[in-house]
């Protein structure tokens, strides 16, 4: 994955420093800003959201991640007030939102299609929400200027949406949603309509804004890169349920289930059976390996004979042309089946004797390689005991 190397990167590293100590979910005394209590939503026979409970804390940049149809958009719309829960309730800042219409909730949404009012200028679009609150005209004007400055659209104040580019329209939609200083800002697939370069820039802009304004953001997306880059915590959803809620790092390196492991990034899944386990380590009999595989960092107790899956990320596998020294744990022999050159990384598909294909990725750390790997080369793949995650679901 390539990232732009420019001044903005430094900004986000500074944010990283602030957010490293930011973990209200770990604090037992913290009161969540938003609480979904056993929320269910049914449309006739179909259950879109299934008995879902979730806490979101103030100042979090939270992401609902999942494929289309998993219920993430329905959940967000229930928070905004466009759908009513069939069961359960939603509490925002201590207030039960049941029966409260969208125009009375301290929540604002940035729509996927932006939904800018075509017959109003940029200024009037942003002022719209403030006019609904009957604020004095001078205050509205000041706030509009503040918002325009925030999203860097001051010269475009009098233009109509049809006279703006896609990126500019998005910023108007953002300014309009932020104008009322809501407690929570909902973003529905905010980066979907943008091209790659703009997407990266906007990701960092959104993160900057969120920290600067001290607001709580809730983003709904199907794009895992988006979620991994921007979020403090991600909730991975599947068929109306939350499968795992954790920080991006935890989601990637400690997936709770096969579904999460396969949804985020690339992963190799090996089927195996527990031979022995104890003290955070275990030995697995893996069909694709001649020798038993040793795994460390095992969290839950495993009984021998239990069928499990071992998840290995491509970058944790080490690829060598010579056989690794003896006593190296977890060695597999195979041939190069396919190569994908991405510039900064190279992906190798290694075919094992059992027929299974392992995906190994390697950073291209030098510009010239003396003996580059080629198709059908005989290679060895090994990994450290801590490199894999044992999945019981």
């Amino acid at each position: 994955m390539s990232m732009a190397v420019d001044g903005r990167r430094r900004g986000s590293l500074a944010i990283g420093a602030v957010r490293r100590d930011f973990a209200p979910w770990a604090d037992p005394g913290a009161i969540p800003l938003i609480r979904f209590e056993q929320v269910t939503k049914r449309y006739g026979e179909v259950t879109a959201v299934d008995n879902l409970s979730l806490d979101i804390y103030e100042r979090e940049f939270f992401c609902l991640l999942g494929p289309s149809g998993c219920g993430k958009t329905t959940l967000m719309r229930m928070l905004a007030g466009f759908e009513a829960a069939s069961e359960g309730r939603i509490v925002l800042a201590g207030q039960d939102l049941s029966g409260v219409p969208p125009y009375r909730r301290p929540v604002n949404m940035m729509f996927q299609s932006y939904a800018l009012f075509p017959h109003m200028s940029v200024e009037r679009n942003i002022a719209f929400g403030l006019e609904q609150d009957r604020l004095p005209k001078a205050e509205i004007a000041d706030r509009v200027v503040e918002m325009l400055r925030l999203v860097q659209l001051e010269p475009f104040a009098r233009r109509r949406p049809s006279q703006l580019s896609g990126g500019q329209r998005q910023r108007v939609a953002l300014a309009r949603a932020l104008a009322k200083r809501p407690k929570v800002l909902l973003l529905d697939e905010p980066l979907g309509a943008l091209d790659k370069k703009l997407r990266e820039e906007t990701q960092f802009e959104l993160m900057d804004l969120q920290v600067k304004l001290g607001m709580t953001f809730l983003v709904v997306t199907h794009d895992q890169e988006e979620a991994m880059t921007m979020a403090d915590r991600i909730a991975v959803m599947d068929h109306g349920r939350i499968v795992q809620v954790a920080t991006p790092g935890e989601i990637y390196e400690q997936p709770a289930s096969r579904y999460v492991a396969e949804f985020i990034g690339d992963v190799n899944i090996l089927e195996g059976k527990v031979i022995a386990a104890g003290e955070g380590r275990c030995t697995l009999a893996v069909a694709d390996a001649p020798e038993p595989v040793s795994v460390a960092g095992v969290a839950e107790p495993l009984s021998p004979g239990r069928e499990v899956a071992l998840a290995l990320r491509p970058e944790k596998l080490v690829l060598t042309q010579e056989e690794p020294p003896p006593h190296t744990p977890n060695v597999f022999a195979g041939t190069i089946w396919d190569i994908g050159y991405l510039g900064d990384w190279t992906i190798y598909l290694v075919r094992l004797a059992s027929g299974k294909t392992l995906r190994v990725s390697r950073a291209n750390v030098t510009r010239f390689v003396e003996r580059p790997l080629s198709w059908d080369d005989k290679v060895f793949v090994h990994f450290a005991p801590e490199a894999g995650v044992v999945l019981t679901r």
């Binding site: 929540v107 939904a115 009012f117 609904q132 309009r176 009322k180």
Partner: protein
């Protein structure tokens, strides 16, 4: 903003053929509109006579150029001055405008909810609903107006129904009044109001209403601030499409209206057929056209300017 790519240069023949395309409707309009209009205008400048055709002068090319020049000198604007002097025509015209305006407002009040409901109906129902609106056009307009006579007359269906239900004791006297004319006009012109409105409302992005609600605007206020302004093109189109023909409407006031229902169409008809005063009737027609073309040209001008600004 993207600019449309320029078409490739096709050479002289290509350009000539391209010019032919707009020439076809232009020639059509010239032949079927401008020429008849010129004929009517010429008759308006003539004077009535007991002859066949009932006006003088008649251009006779057999008389040669001299004959034509003589005929031209006999033309005058006398009929137009007559229009200004006699209050009948002015009253008829004002009355027509009044009836057309009231009808248009009624059409809008009835047509907008219908078009709105159609636009919000589930997709699979829309073709059927559209068909139902257009269906009356498949039957004869005249027969449908006659049917209303059968419904509205004192011995007709409406009175019979209301008397049977015990709501009234005496038969209704709606026939031959302005009310009957309004009913007839609204009934006949409703599709002309509903269809342009439906066309505009169907393209409406309802997410805009959600966005308005999200920003603190209750649904009824969002209707006036978002839906109505964006439906304006359809409203204007529908209103013009109804107002202009209704001003000149003849059949409905003739069949359903009373003798006090003055409309310029009837006045023109009686001038033409009863009085056999073709020149005067033609003068009325010419004035009517000019007075109606004014708003249309103004509307087109506004639209064109809006287009330019949007670019």
């Amino acid at each position: 903003m993207d600019v449309a790519p320029r078409p490739p240069d096709r050479g002289a023949l290509g350009r000539a053929l391209s010019a032919l395309v707009p020439a076809v409707p232009f020639l059509w309009l010239a032949f079927f509109f401008l020429v008849p209009f010129a004929i009517v205008f010429k008759i308006a400048l003539s004077e009535p006579a007991t002859a066949q055709p009932p006006y003088r002068p008649v251009f006779d090319l057999s008389q040669g150029f001299e004959g034509l020049r003589e005929a031209f000198s006999q033309l005058s604007f006398y009929n137009f001055t007559l229009l200004l002097e006699d209050s009948l025509y002015f009253s008829s015209f004002i009355s027509s405008l009044r009836i057309a305006a009231v009808s248009t407002v009624l059409l809008l009040a009835i047509g907008f909810p219908i078009a709105y409901a159609m636009a919000k109906a589930p997709e699979r129902w829309r073709p059927t609903l559209l068909m139902l609106v257009i269906l009356p056009f498949w039957t004869s307009f005249l027969i449908r107006v006659y049917a209303w006579i059968g419904i509205l007359k004192p011995e007709g269906l409406l009175s019979a129904l209301l008397i049977n239900l015990g709501l009234i004791s005496e038969p209704l006297q709606i026939m031959n009044t302005d009310t009957a004319v309004f009913i007839g006009i609204v009934y006949s012109y409703l599709p002309f109001m509903v269809l342009p409105l439906y066309a505009t409302l169907e393209k409406f992005d309802y997410t805009l209403l959600e966005a308005a609600e999200d920003l603190g605007c209750p649904p009824w206020r969002a209707f006036w601030r978002i839906t109505v302004p964006l439906a304006m093109p359809g409203v204007l189109a529908g209103c013009l499409l109804c107002f202009i023909p209704v001003v000149g409407e003849f059949v409905i006031p003739d069949l359903l209206g009373g003798s006090e229902t003055l409309m310029i169409g009837r006045t023109l008809w009686s001038e033409f057929f009863s009085n056999r005063d073709w020149p005067l009737a033609s003068a009325v027609a010419v004035v009517l056209l000019v007075l109606l073309v004014g708003p249309i040209v103004a509307y087109r001008d506004i639209e064109a300017r809006r287009w330019e600004k949007a670019k």
